[in-house]
Amino acid sequence: MKRRNLALSIIAIALLLLFLIFADSSLDSYQKRILNLCAIYVILGLSMNLINGFTGLFSLGHAGFMAVGAYTTALLTMSPAIKEQTFYLEPIVAPLANLNMPFLPALLMAGILSAFVAFIIGAPVLRLKGDYLAIATLGFSEIIRIIFTNTQSITNGSLGLKSIPPHTNLWWSFGGAALTVIFMVFLIKSSYGKAFKAIREDEIAAESMGIGLFKHKMLSFVTGAFIAGVGGGLLGSLLGAINPNMFRFVLTFNVLLVIVLGGMGSITGTVISAFVVTSGLEYLRFLDETIDLGFIEIPGVAGLRMVVFALLLMMVVVFFRNGLMGTNEFSWDKLISFLKRKFPFKKEVGH
Protein backbone atom coordinates (compact mmCIF):
# COMPACT_ATOMS: atom_id res chain seq x y z
CA MET A 1 0.00 0.00 0.00
CA LYS A 2 2.67 2.47 1.11
CA ARG A 3 4.88 1.52 -1.86
CA ARG A 4 1.98 1.84 -4.26
CA ASN A 5 1.14 5.31 -2.98
CA LEU A 6 4.76 6.38 -3.15
CA ALA A 7 4.93 5.15 -6.73
CA LEU A 8 1.72 7.00 -7.60
CA SER A 9 3.08 10.17 -6.04
CA ILE A 10 6.31 9.93 -8.01
CA ILE A 11 4.34 9.39 -11.20
CA ALA A 12 2.14 12.38 -10.43
CA ILE A 13 5.12 14.63 -9.76
CA ALA A 14 6.81 13.42 -12.95
CA LEU A 15 3.64 14.18 -14.92
CA LEU A 16 3.48 17.64 -13.40
CA LEU A 17 7.11 18.28 -14.34
CA LEU A 18 6.48 17.05 -17.87
CA PHE A 19 3.47 19.31 -18.09
CA LEU A 20 5.50 22.29 -16.88
CA ILE A 21 8.23 21.59 -19.45
CA PHE A 22 5.58 21.36 -22.13
CA ALA A 23 3.77 24.48 -20.89
CA ASP A 24 6.96 26.46 -20.62
CA SER A 25 7.95 25.72 -24.21
CA SER A 26 4.64 25.50 -26.03
CA LEU A 27 2.02 27.72 -24.41
CA ASP A 28 1.66 31.35 -25.34
CA SER A 29 2.46 34.04 -22.85
CA TYR A 30 -1.21 34.65 -21.98
CA GLN A 31 -1.79 31.02 -21.10
CA LYS A 32 1.44 30.89 -19.14
CA ARG A 33 0.42 33.99 -17.24
CA ILE A 34 -2.82 32.34 -16.19
CA LEU A 35 -0.99 29.22 -15.05
CA ASN A 36 1.39 31.39 -13.07
CA LEU A 37 -1.54 33.18 -11.48
CA CYS A 38 -3.15 29.86 -10.56
CA ALA A 39 0.00 28.69 -8.80
CA ILE A 40 0.41 32.01 -7.00
CA TYR A 41 -3.19 31.80 -5.85
CA VAL A 42 -2.40 28.36 -4.43
CA ILE A 43 0.26 30.04 -2.30
CA LEU A 44 -2.00 32.94 -1.32
CA GLY A 45 -4.96 30.67 -0.65
CA LEU A 46 -2.95 28.34 1.57
CA SER A 47 -1.56 31.25 3.55
CA MET A 48 -5.04 32.58 4.20
CA ASN A 49 -6.44 29.13 4.88
CA LEU A 50 -3.83 28.63 7.59
CA ILE A 51 -5.07 31.71 9.42
CA ASN A 52 -8.79 31.57 8.64
CA GLY A 53 -9.50 27.93 7.86
CA PHE A 54 -7.18 26.02 10.17
CA THR A 55 -6.92 28.42 13.09
CA GLY A 56 -10.40 29.87 12.76
CA LEU A 57 -9.29 33.51 12.86
CA PHE A 58 -11.51 35.80 10.85
CA SER A 59 -8.73 37.87 9.28
CA LEU A 60 -9.25 40.07 6.25
CA GLY A 61 -5.85 41.71 6.06
CA HIS A 62 -4.38 39.61 3.32
CA ALA A 63 -4.02 42.33 0.70
CA GLY A 64 -1.89 44.23 3.21
CA PHE A 65 0.58 41.38 3.59
CA MET A 66 0.68 40.88 -0.16
CA ALA A 67 1.37 44.57 -0.68
CA VAL A 68 4.28 44.47 1.76
CA GLY A 69 5.65 41.41 -0.04
CA ALA A 70 5.15 42.76 -3.55
CA TYR A 71 6.79 46.12 -2.80
CA THR A 72 9.67 44.53 -0.92
CA THR A 73 10.47 42.12 -3.72
CA ALA A 74 10.10 44.78 -6.39
CA LEU A 75 12.31 47.33 -4.64
CA LEU A 76 14.96 44.74 -3.87
CA THR A 77 15.16 43.34 -7.40
CA MET A 78 14.85 46.55 -9.46
CA SER A 79 18.24 47.83 -10.56
CA PRO A 80 19.41 51.22 -9.26
CA ALA A 81 19.08 52.65 -12.77
CA ILE A 82 15.46 51.57 -13.16
CA LYS A 83 14.62 52.86 -9.72
CA GLU A 84 16.09 56.25 -10.63
CA GLN A 85 13.90 56.33 -13.73
CA THR A 86 10.79 55.21 -11.88
CA PHE A 87 11.07 57.64 -9.02
CA TYR A 88 10.95 60.77 -11.13
CA LEU A 89 8.59 62.74 -8.92
CA GLU A 90 10.71 62.39 -5.83
CA PRO A 91 13.94 60.39 -5.67
CA ILE A 92 14.00 57.15 -3.74
CA VAL A 93 15.56 57.24 -0.26
CA ALA A 94 19.27 56.59 -0.14
CA PRO A 95 19.57 53.10 1.34
CA LEU A 96 16.92 51.68 -0.98
CA ALA A 97 18.33 53.28 -4.12
CA ASN A 98 21.29 50.96 -4.40
CA LEU A 99 19.96 47.93 -2.59
CA ASN A 100 19.76 45.13 -5.08
CA MET A 101 19.63 41.38 -4.67
CA PRO A 102 18.68 38.23 -6.56
CA PHE A 103 15.07 37.05 -6.67
CA LEU A 104 15.23 34.32 -4.03
CA PRO A 105 16.63 36.42 -1.17
CA ALA A 106 14.28 39.22 -2.21
CA LEU A 107 11.32 36.85 -1.88
CA LEU A 108 12.55 35.71 1.50
CA MET A 109 12.90 39.31 2.62
CA ALA A 110 9.34 39.88 1.41
CA GLY A 111 8.15 37.04 3.61
CA ILE A 112 10.18 38.18 6.59
CA LEU A 113 9.01 41.79 6.36
CA SER A 114 5.40 40.75 5.93
CA ALA A 115 5.73 38.40 8.92
CA PHE A 116 7.25 41.23 10.92
CA VAL A 117 4.35 43.52 10.07
CA ALA A 118 1.95 40.75 11.11
CA PHE A 119 3.82 40.40 14.38
CA ILE A 120 3.49 44.12 15.10
CA ILE A 121 -0.21 44.38 14.32
CA GLY A 122 -0.95 40.94 15.78
CA ALA A 123 -0.07 42.11 19.26
CA PRO A 124 -3.14 44.34 19.63
CA VAL A 125 -5.38 42.77 16.99
CA LEU A 126 -5.22 39.08 17.92
CA ARG A 127 -6.77 39.77 21.28
CA LEU A 128 -9.97 40.57 19.42
CA LYS A 129 -12.48 37.94 18.48
CA GLY A 130 -14.62 37.19 15.45
CA ASP A 131 -16.06 40.20 13.68
CA TYR A 132 -13.87 42.63 15.60
CA LEU A 133 -10.77 40.89 14.34
CA ALA A 134 -12.13 41.05 10.80
CA ILE A 135 -12.75 44.79 11.05
CA ALA A 136 -9.35 45.49 12.60
CA THR A 137 -7.43 43.47 9.99
CA LEU A 138 -9.43 45.04 7.20
CA GLY A 139 -8.50 48.41 8.62
CA PHE A 140 -4.86 47.37 8.76
CA SER A 141 -4.81 46.46 5.10
CA GLU A 142 -6.40 49.77 4.12
CA ILE A 143 -3.86 51.62 6.25
CA ILE A 144 -1.00 49.82 4.48
CA ARG A 145 -2.47 50.90 1.18
CA ILE A 146 -2.76 54.51 2.29
CA ILE A 147 0.74 54.54 3.73
CA PHE A 148 2.09 53.14 0.47
CA THR A 149 0.23 55.83 -1.45
CA ASN A 150 1.82 58.56 0.62
CA THR A 151 5.40 57.43 1.11
CA GLN A 152 6.52 58.82 -2.24
CA SER A 153 10.24 58.39 -1.66
CA ILE A 154 9.91 54.73 -0.67
CA THR A 155 7.06 53.34 -2.74
CA ASN A 156 6.74 56.00 -5.43
CA GLY A 157 3.24 56.73 -4.14
CA SER A 158 0.24 56.30 -6.35
CA LEU A 159 2.44 56.09 -9.44
CA GLY A 160 3.47 52.68 -8.28
CA LEU A 161 6.44 50.67 -9.46
CA LYS A 162 6.98 49.74 -13.08
CA SER A 163 9.52 47.64 -14.94
CA ILE A 164 9.79 45.18 -12.08
CA PRO A 165 12.19 42.47 -13.29
CA PRO A 166 9.99 39.62 -14.56
CA HIS A 167 11.61 36.81 -12.60
CA THR A 168 8.40 34.93 -11.96
CA ASN A 169 7.98 32.06 -14.39
CA LEU A 170 6.31 28.67 -14.20
CA TRP A 171 9.23 27.18 -12.28
CA TRP A 172 9.20 29.85 -9.63
CA SER A 173 5.44 29.92 -9.20
CA PHE A 174 4.88 26.17 -9.28
CA GLY A 175 8.01 25.59 -7.23
CA GLY A 176 6.71 28.05 -4.67
CA ALA A 177 3.26 26.47 -4.71
CA ALA A 178 4.70 22.96 -4.28
CA LEU A 179 6.90 24.08 -1.41
CA THR A 180 3.96 25.80 0.25
CA VAL A 181 1.80 22.68 -0.08
CA ILE A 182 4.52 20.51 1.45
CA PHE A 183 5.13 23.03 4.21
CA MET A 184 1.42 23.19 5.01
CA VAL A 185 1.03 19.42 5.05
CA PHE A 186 3.90 19.13 7.52
CA LEU A 187 2.69 22.03 9.64
CA ILE A 188 -0.89 20.81 9.85
CA LYS A 189 0.22 17.29 10.71
CA SER A 190 2.44 18.55 13.51
CA SER A 191 1.45 19.14 17.09
CA TYR A 192 1.26 22.87 16.38
CA GLY A 193 -1.11 22.30 13.48
CA LYS A 194 -3.37 20.29 15.77
CA ALA A 195 -3.18 23.06 18.36
CA PHE A 196 -4.33 25.55 15.70
CA LYS A 197 -7.28 23.32 14.85
CA ALA A 198 -8.12 22.98 18.53
CA ILE A 199 -8.36 26.76 18.76
CA ARG A 200 -10.64 26.76 15.75
CA GLU A 201 -12.87 24.10 17.29
CA ASP A 202 -13.21 25.55 20.77
CA GLU A 203 -11.06 28.31 22.22
CA ILE A 204 -12.10 27.71 25.81
CA ALA A 205 -11.38 24.00 25.63
CA ALA A 206 -8.08 24.60 23.83
CA GLU A 207 -6.97 27.01 26.50
CA SER A 208 -8.00 24.57 29.20
CA MET A 209 -5.83 21.94 27.55
CA GLY A 210 -2.83 24.19 28.01
CA ILE A 211 -2.71 25.84 24.61
CA GLY A 212 -1.81 29.51 24.91
CA LEU A 213 -4.30 31.25 22.66
CA PHE A 214 -2.32 34.37 21.97
CA LYS A 215 0.96 32.61 21.23
CA HIS A 216 -0.60 30.10 18.87
CA LYS A 217 -2.79 32.61 17.07
CA MET A 218 0.31 34.75 16.62
CA LEU A 219 2.31 31.83 15.22
CA SER A 220 -0.40 31.04 12.71
CA PHE A 221 -0.90 34.69 11.79
CA VAL A 222 2.80 35.38 11.31
CA THR A 223 3.37 32.18 9.35
CA GLY A 224 0.42 32.96 7.09
CA ALA A 225 1.69 36.50 6.59
CA PHE A 226 5.14 35.18 5.66
CA ILE A 227 3.67 32.98 2.94
CA ALA A 228 1.36 35.77 1.76
CA GLY A 229 4.35 38.10 1.50
CA VAL A 230 6.21 35.63 -0.69
CA GLY A 231 3.07 35.16 -2.78
CA GLY A 232 2.75 38.92 -3.14
CA GLY A 233 6.39 39.11 -4.25
CA LEU A 234 5.84 36.48 -6.92
CA LEU A 235 2.69 38.26 -8.06
CA GLY A 236 4.37 41.65 -8.36
CA SER A 237 7.19 40.19 -10.38
CA LEU A 238 4.72 38.38 -12.63
CA LEU A 239 2.68 41.51 -13.31
CA GLY A 240 5.73 43.71 -13.79
CA ALA A 241 3.98 46.74 -12.39
CA ILE A 242 2.28 47.39 -9.06
CA ASN A 243 0.53 50.30 -7.43
CA PRO A 244 -1.27 50.75 -4.12
CA ASN A 245 -4.72 50.50 -5.68
CA MET A 246 -4.12 46.88 -6.65
CA PHE A 247 -4.14 46.00 -2.99
CA ARG A 248 -7.69 46.95 -2.26
CA PHE A 249 -10.11 44.68 -0.44
CA VAL A 250 -11.06 42.99 -3.71
CA LEU A 251 -7.73 41.19 -3.67
CA THR A 252 -8.42 39.80 -0.20
CA PHE A 253 -11.87 38.89 -1.43
CA ASN A 254 -10.44 36.87 -4.34
CA VAL A 255 -8.30 34.85 -1.96
CA LEU A 256 -11.21 34.42 0.42
CA LEU A 257 -13.25 33.14 -2.50
CA VAL A 258 -10.57 30.53 -3.20
CA ILE A 259 -10.52 29.18 0.33
CA VAL A 260 -14.26 29.23 0.89
CA LEU A 261 -14.99 27.49 -2.39
CA GLY A 262 -12.26 24.94 -1.75
CA GLY A 263 -13.17 24.33 1.86
CA MET A 264 -11.95 26.19 4.93
CA GLY A 265 -9.42 23.91 6.49
CA SER A 266 -8.52 21.83 3.46
CA ILE A 267 -5.19 22.07 1.66
CA THR A 268 -6.49 19.99 -1.23
CA GLY A 269 -9.55 22.18 -1.55
CA THR A 270 -7.47 25.34 -1.76
CA VAL A 271 -5.20 23.89 -4.43
CA ILE A 272 -8.09 22.80 -6.64
CA SER A 273 -10.09 25.93 -6.02
CA ALA A 274 -7.12 28.23 -6.75
CA PHE A 275 -7.01 26.79 -10.25
CA VAL A 276 -10.76 26.89 -10.75
CA VAL A 277 -11.27 30.41 -9.42
CA THR A 278 -8.25 31.95 -11.12
CA SER A 279 -8.93 30.48 -14.53
CA GLY A 280 -12.64 31.14 -13.99
CA LEU A 281 -11.98 34.80 -13.30
CA GLU A 282 -9.95 34.97 -16.50
CA TYR A 283 -12.46 33.03 -18.50
CA LEU A 284 -15.28 35.30 -17.38
CA ARG A 285 -13.33 38.39 -18.34
CA PHE A 286 -15.58 38.67 -21.43
CA LEU A 287 -18.36 39.72 -19.07
CA ASP A 288 -16.53 42.95 -18.42
CA GLU A 289 -16.02 43.64 -22.08
CA THR A 290 -18.38 44.51 -24.85
CA ILE A 291 -19.92 41.41 -26.35
CA ASP A 292 -20.56 41.59 -30.08
CA LEU A 293 -23.17 39.05 -31.10
CA GLY A 294 -23.11 40.26 -34.75
CA PHE A 295 -26.64 41.63 -34.79
CA ILE A 296 -26.51 43.23 -31.39
CA GLU A 297 -23.76 44.64 -29.22
CA ILE A 298 -24.07 44.16 -25.48
CA PRO A 299 -22.06 46.83 -23.72
CA GLY A 300 -19.67 45.40 -21.13
CA VAL A 301 -20.21 46.21 -17.50
CA ALA A 302 -16.91 46.64 -15.69
CA GLY A 303 -16.84 44.41 -12.64
CA LEU A 304 -19.63 42.12 -13.78
CA ARG A 305 -17.44 39.03 -13.42
CA MET A 306 -16.77 39.97 -9.82
CA VAL A 307 -20.52 40.14 -9.33
CA VAL A 308 -20.80 36.64 -10.75
CA PHE A 309 -18.12 35.43 -8.38
CA ALA A 310 -19.61 37.23 -5.42
CA LEU A 311 -22.93 35.53 -6.16
CA LEU A 312 -21.12 32.22 -6.39
CA LEU A 313 -19.54 32.84 -3.01
CA MET A 314 -22.92 33.66 -1.52
CA MET A 315 -24.40 30.49 -2.93
CA VAL A 316 -21.60 28.39 -1.53
CA VAL A 317 -21.93 29.98 1.87
CA VAL A 318 -25.70 29.46 1.87
CA PHE A 319 -26.00 26.02 0.27
CA PHE A 320 -22.63 24.30 0.49
CA ARG A 321 -21.20 25.51 3.72
CA ASN A 322 -18.21 23.22 3.50
CA GLY A 323 -17.11 24.12 0.01
CA LEU A 324 -15.62 21.54 -2.27
CA MET A 325 -13.65 19.52 0.26
CA GLY A 326 -14.88 20.58 3.69
CA THR A 327 -11.94 19.80 5.93
CA ASN A 328 -11.06 16.65 3.99
CA GLU A 329 -7.79 16.01 2.24
CA PHE A 330 -6.77 14.08 -0.80
CA SER A 331 -5.10 10.70 -0.40
CA TRP A 332 -4.38 8.01 -2.93
CA ASP A 333 -6.30 5.46 -0.85
CA LYS A 334 -9.41 7.63 -0.90
CA LEU A 335 -9.09 8.32 -4.62
CA ILE A 336 -8.72 4.65 -5.45
CA SER A 337 -11.62 3.51 -3.33
CA PHE A 338 -13.68 6.32 -4.86
CA LEU A 339 -12.81 5.18 -8.38
CA LYS A 340 -13.58 1.59 -7.46
CA ARG A 341 -17.00 2.60 -6.28
CA LYS A 342 -17.65 4.67 -9.38
CA PHE A 343 -16.41 2.09 -11.86
CA PRO A 344 -16.96 -1.34 -10.35
CA PHE A 345 -15.51 -3.35 -13.25
CA LYS A 346 -13.88 -5.87 -10.94
CA LYS A 347 -14.14 -9.46 -12.05
CA GLU A 348 -17.14 -10.94 -10.25
CA VAL A 349 -16.45 -14.33 -8.77
CA GLY A 350 -19.60 -16.44 -8.94
CA HIS A 351 -20.93 -17.88 -5.75
Binding site: F183, S191, Y192, K194, K197, S208, M209, G210
Partner: protein, 257 residues
Amino acid sequence: MTLLLKTDGITMKFGGLTAVKDLNLEINQGEIVALIGPNGAGKTTAFNMITGVYKPTEGKIHFSKKDITGLKPHLITKHGMARTFQNIRLFKELSVMDNVLIANHLHLKASYLESILHLPRYRQQKNASVKKSEFLLERLGLSQFKDEKASSLPYGLQRRLEIARALATDPKLLLLDEPAAGMNPKETDDLTHFIKEIRDEFQLTILLIEHHMSVVMGISDRIYVLDHGITIAVGNPQSIQNDQKVIEAYLGVSEDA
Protein backbone atom coordinates in the same frame (compact mmCIF):
# COMPACT_ATOMS: atom_id res chain seq x y z
CA MET B 1 -1.33 15.60 54.47
CA THR B 2 -0.27 18.25 52.00
CA LEU B 3 -2.57 21.01 50.95
CA LEU B 4 -2.90 21.11 47.17
CA LEU B 5 -5.56 23.71 46.51
CA LYS B 6 -6.64 26.55 48.73
CA THR B 7 -9.03 29.33 47.85
CA ASP B 8 -9.03 32.36 50.13
CA GLY B 9 -12.43 33.98 50.14
CA ILE B 10 -12.88 33.98 46.40
CA THR B 11 -15.87 35.97 45.18
CA MET B 12 -17.25 36.35 41.68
CA LYS B 13 -19.63 39.13 40.77
CA PHE B 14 -21.34 39.48 37.41
CA GLY B 15 -22.64 43.01 37.43
CA GLY B 16 -25.08 43.08 40.30
CA LEU B 17 -25.18 39.31 40.72
CA THR B 18 -22.82 37.66 43.17
CA ALA B 19 -22.49 34.17 41.73
CA VAL B 20 -19.99 32.98 44.35
CA LYS B 21 -19.31 34.67 47.64
CA ASP B 22 -16.35 34.17 49.95
CA LEU B 23 -15.57 30.59 49.00
CA ASN B 24 -12.85 28.91 51.07
CA LEU B 25 -11.91 25.54 49.68
CA GLU B 26 -9.10 23.43 51.06
CA ILE B 27 -8.22 20.29 49.19
CA ASN B 28 -5.47 17.93 50.25
CA GLN B 29 -3.42 15.76 48.00
CA GLY B 30 -5.19 12.52 47.11
CA GLU B 31 -8.61 13.59 48.33
CA ILE B 32 -11.86 13.39 46.44
CA VAL B 33 -13.88 16.47 47.27
CA ALA B 34 -17.36 17.25 46.01
CA LEU B 35 -18.95 20.60 45.38
CA ILE B 36 -22.73 20.33 45.47
CA GLY B 37 -25.70 22.62 45.51
CA PRO B 38 -28.88 23.40 43.59
CA ASN B 39 -28.79 24.68 40.03
CA GLY B 40 -27.38 28.16 39.76
CA ALA B 41 -25.64 27.87 43.14
CA GLY B 42 -22.33 28.97 41.62
CA LYS B 43 -20.51 25.64 41.31
CA THR B 44 -19.41 26.01 37.70
CA THR B 45 -18.46 29.61 38.39
CA ALA B 46 -16.19 28.36 41.18
CA PHE B 47 -14.55 25.97 38.69
CA ASN B 48 -14.12 28.79 36.22
CA MET B 49 -12.35 30.90 38.81
CA ILE B 50 -10.07 28.07 39.90
CA THR B 51 -9.12 27.17 36.32
CA GLY B 52 -8.56 30.77 35.27
CA VAL B 53 -11.52 31.23 32.94
CA TYR B 54 -12.70 34.03 35.23
CA LYS B 55 -10.51 36.17 37.43
CA PRO B 56 -12.10 36.30 40.89
CA THR B 57 -13.48 39.70 41.83
CA GLU B 58 -11.98 39.16 45.26
CA GLY B 59 -9.81 36.60 46.98
CA LYS B 60 -6.78 34.48 46.20
CA ILE B 61 -6.19 30.99 44.87
CA HIS B 62 -3.16 28.94 45.82
CA PHE B 63 -2.28 25.75 44.02
CA SER B 64 0.75 23.66 45.01
CA LYS B 65 1.78 26.56 47.25
CA LYS B 66 1.83 28.97 44.30
CA ASP B 67 -0.45 31.95 43.90
CA ILE B 68 -2.32 31.31 40.66
CA THR B 69 -4.93 34.04 41.02
CA GLY B 70 -5.60 35.65 37.66
CA LEU B 71 -3.29 33.39 35.68
CA LYS B 72 -4.47 32.43 32.19
CA PRO B 73 -6.12 29.00 31.94
CA HIS B 74 -3.33 27.50 29.86
CA LEU B 75 -0.73 28.41 32.46
CA ILE B 76 -2.85 26.95 35.25
CA THR B 77 -3.14 23.76 33.21
CA LYS B 78 0.65 23.72 32.95
CA HIS B 79 0.84 23.91 36.72
CA GLY B 80 -1.04 20.62 36.86
CA MET B 81 -4.76 21.25 36.80
CA ALA B 82 -7.20 19.87 34.25
CA ARG B 83 -10.93 19.92 33.91
CA THR B 84 -13.97 18.65 32.08
CA PHE B 85 -16.96 20.79 31.17
CA GLN B 86 -20.58 20.57 32.22
CA ASN B 87 -21.70 21.04 28.61
CA ILE B 88 -19.13 18.88 26.86
CA ARG B 89 -16.50 20.85 24.98
CA LEU B 90 -14.66 18.42 22.77
CA PHE B 91 -12.88 19.37 19.57
CA LYS B 92 -15.90 18.10 17.70
CA GLU B 93 -14.64 17.88 14.14
CA LEU B 94 -11.36 16.26 15.12
CA SER B 95 -10.73 12.58 15.68
CA VAL B 96 -10.89 10.98 19.11
CA MET B 97 -7.13 10.40 18.93
CA ASP B 98 -6.42 14.02 17.98
CA ASN B 99 -8.52 15.23 20.89
CA VAL B 100 -6.22 13.40 23.27
CA LEU B 101 -3.03 14.20 21.35
CA ILE B 102 -3.80 17.92 21.53
CA ALA B 103 -3.77 17.68 25.31
CA ASN B 104 -0.12 16.60 25.07
CA HIS B 105 0.87 19.75 23.21
CA LEU B 106 1.56 21.73 26.37
CA HIS B 107 4.43 19.40 27.24
CA LEU B 108 6.08 19.70 23.83
CA LYS B 109 9.67 20.89 24.15
CA ALA B 110 10.44 20.95 20.44
CA SER B 111 10.26 24.39 18.86
CA TYR B 112 7.79 25.45 16.20
CA LEU B 113 10.29 24.94 13.40
CA GLU B 114 11.54 21.63 14.76
CA SER B 115 7.93 20.48 14.84
CA ILE B 116 7.07 21.60 11.32
CA LEU B 117 10.20 19.98 9.93
CA HIS B 118 9.58 16.86 12.05
CA LEU B 119 13.17 16.91 13.32
CA PRO B 120 14.34 14.09 15.64
CA ARG B 121 13.60 15.87 18.91
CA TYR B 122 10.03 16.50 17.75
CA ARG B 123 9.55 12.97 16.42
CA GLN B 124 10.74 11.49 19.68
CA GLN B 125 8.32 13.56 21.73
CA LYS B 126 5.51 12.96 19.28
CA ASN B 127 5.98 9.21 19.43
CA ALA B 128 5.85 9.37 23.21
CA SER B 129 2.62 11.40 23.03
CA VAL B 130 1.06 8.93 20.63
CA LYS B 131 1.95 6.04 22.92
CA LYS B 132 0.58 7.82 25.98
CA SER B 133 -2.62 8.78 24.16
CA GLU B 134 -3.12 5.25 22.92
CA PHE B 135 -2.67 4.00 26.44
CA LEU B 136 -5.23 6.49 27.79
CA LEU B 137 -7.75 5.61 25.11
CA GLU B 138 -7.22 1.94 25.85
CA ARG B 139 -7.58 2.58 29.57
CA LEU B 140 -10.85 4.42 29.05
CA GLY B 141 -12.20 1.87 26.59
CA LEU B 142 -12.11 4.23 23.63
CA SER B 143 -9.45 2.53 21.51
CA GLN B 144 -11.84 1.21 18.93
CA PHE B 145 -13.12 4.74 18.24
CA LYS B 146 -9.77 6.42 17.93
CA ASP B 147 -10.20 7.44 14.30
CA GLU B 148 -13.84 8.48 14.64
CA LYS B 149 -14.89 12.09 14.82
CA ALA B 150 -15.34 13.11 18.44
CA SER B 151 -18.85 14.38 17.76
CA SER B 152 -19.90 10.97 16.42
CA LEU B 153 -19.46 9.29 19.81
CA PRO B 154 -22.51 8.66 21.96
CA TYR B 155 -22.95 11.07 24.83
CA GLY B 156 -21.55 8.83 27.56
CA LEU B 157 -18.38 8.14 25.58
CA GLN B 158 -17.94 11.83 24.87
CA ARG B 159 -17.87 12.40 28.62
CA ARG B 160 -15.23 9.70 28.94
CA LEU B 161 -13.21 11.22 26.11
CA GLU B 162 -13.22 14.52 27.98
CA ILE B 163 -11.72 12.72 30.96
CA ALA B 164 -9.11 11.02 28.76
CA ARG B 165 -8.21 14.38 27.27
CA ALA B 166 -7.90 15.98 30.70
CA LEU B 167 -5.70 13.12 31.92
CA ALA B 168 -3.38 13.59 28.95
CA THR B 169 -2.28 16.94 30.36
CA ASP B 170 -0.82 15.01 33.35
CA PRO B 171 -2.80 16.81 36.05
CA LYS B 172 -2.30 16.67 39.78
CA LEU B 173 -5.78 18.02 40.32
CA LEU B 174 -8.68 16.95 38.16
CA LEU B 175 -11.90 18.96 38.17
CA LEU B 176 -15.00 17.17 36.92
CA ASP B 177 -18.11 19.23 36.23
CA GLU B 178 -21.14 16.93 36.50
CA PRO B 179 -19.44 13.85 35.02
CA ALA B 180 -22.53 11.69 35.57
CA ALA B 181 -24.99 14.09 33.94
CA GLY B 182 -27.30 12.19 31.61
CA MET B 183 -26.12 8.77 32.74
CA ASN B 184 -28.36 5.90 33.83
CA PRO B 185 -27.94 4.29 37.29
CA LYS B 186 -25.70 1.51 35.95
CA GLU B 187 -23.42 3.98 34.16
CA THR B 188 -23.40 6.22 37.21
CA ASP B 189 -22.33 3.29 39.34
CA ASP B 190 -19.53 2.44 36.91
CA LEU B 191 -18.41 6.05 36.90
CA THR B 192 -18.18 6.08 40.69
CA HIS B 193 -15.78 3.15 40.65
CA PHE B 194 -13.94 4.58 37.71
CA ILE B 195 -13.24 7.90 39.42
CA LYS B 196 -11.76 6.07 42.41
CA GLU B 197 -9.67 3.92 40.12
CA ILE B 198 -8.15 6.77 38.20
CA ARG B 199 -7.50 8.67 41.40
CA ASP B 200 -5.32 5.77 42.58
CA GLU B 201 -3.84 4.89 39.21
CA PHE B 202 -2.82 8.42 38.24
CA GLN B 203 -2.23 9.74 41.78
CA LEU B 204 -4.88 12.38 41.34
CA THR B 205 -6.69 14.72 43.59
CA ILE B 206 -10.25 15.21 42.46
CA LEU B 207 -12.72 18.04 42.85
CA LEU B 208 -16.10 17.21 41.39
CA ILE B 209 -19.45 18.84 40.90
CA GLU B 210 -22.24 16.30 40.87
CA HIS B 211 -25.97 16.05 41.31
CA HIS B 212 -26.19 12.26 41.63
CA MET B 213 -26.08 11.79 45.36
CA SER B 214 -25.09 8.14 44.97
CA VAL B 215 -21.85 9.28 43.35
CA VAL B 216 -21.21 12.10 45.76
CA MET B 217 -21.87 10.11 48.92
CA GLY B 218 -20.06 7.07 47.55
CA ILE B 219 -16.70 8.60 46.84
CA SER B 220 -16.27 11.96 48.52
CA ASP B 221 -13.91 12.43 51.41
CA ARG B 222 -15.42 15.83 52.02
CA ILE B 223 -18.25 17.86 50.59
CA TYR B 224 -18.79 21.60 50.19
CA VAL B 225 -22.37 22.74 49.74
CA LEU B 226 -23.16 25.97 47.92
CA ASP B 227 -26.49 27.74 47.78
CA HIS B 228 -26.91 31.08 46.01
CA GLY B 229 -23.13 31.41 45.96
CA ILE B 230 -22.78 30.99 49.71
CA THR B 231 -21.07 28.04 51.36
CA ILE B 232 -23.77 26.66 53.63
CA ALA B 233 -22.03 23.51 54.81
CA VAL B 234 -18.72 21.64 54.77
CA GLY B 235 -18.15 18.15 56.04
CA ASN B 236 -17.99 14.44 55.37
CA PRO B 237 -20.85 12.72 53.57
CA GLN B 238 -22.51 11.62 56.78
CA SER B 239 -22.66 15.06 58.36
CA ILE B 240 -23.81 16.68 55.12
CA GLN B 241 -26.64 14.19 54.74
CA ASN B 242 -27.95 15.17 58.13
CA ASP B 243 -27.37 18.89 57.83
CA GLN B 244 -30.60 20.80 58.20
CA LYS B 245 -29.52 23.74 56.01
CA VAL B 246 -28.53 21.41 53.23
CA ILE B 247 -31.78 19.55 53.33
CA GLU B 248 -33.67 22.83 53.17
CA ALA B 249 -31.59 24.13 50.30
CA TYR B 250 -32.24 20.98 48.35
CA LEU B 251 -35.92 20.70 49.17
CA GLY B 252 -36.38 24.40 48.54
CA VAL B 253 -37.87 24.90 52.01
CA SER B 254 -37.50 28.47 53.11
CA GLU B 255 -37.35 29.53 56.75
CA ASP B 256 -40.70 31.24 56.76
CA ALA B 257 -42.53 28.38 55.07
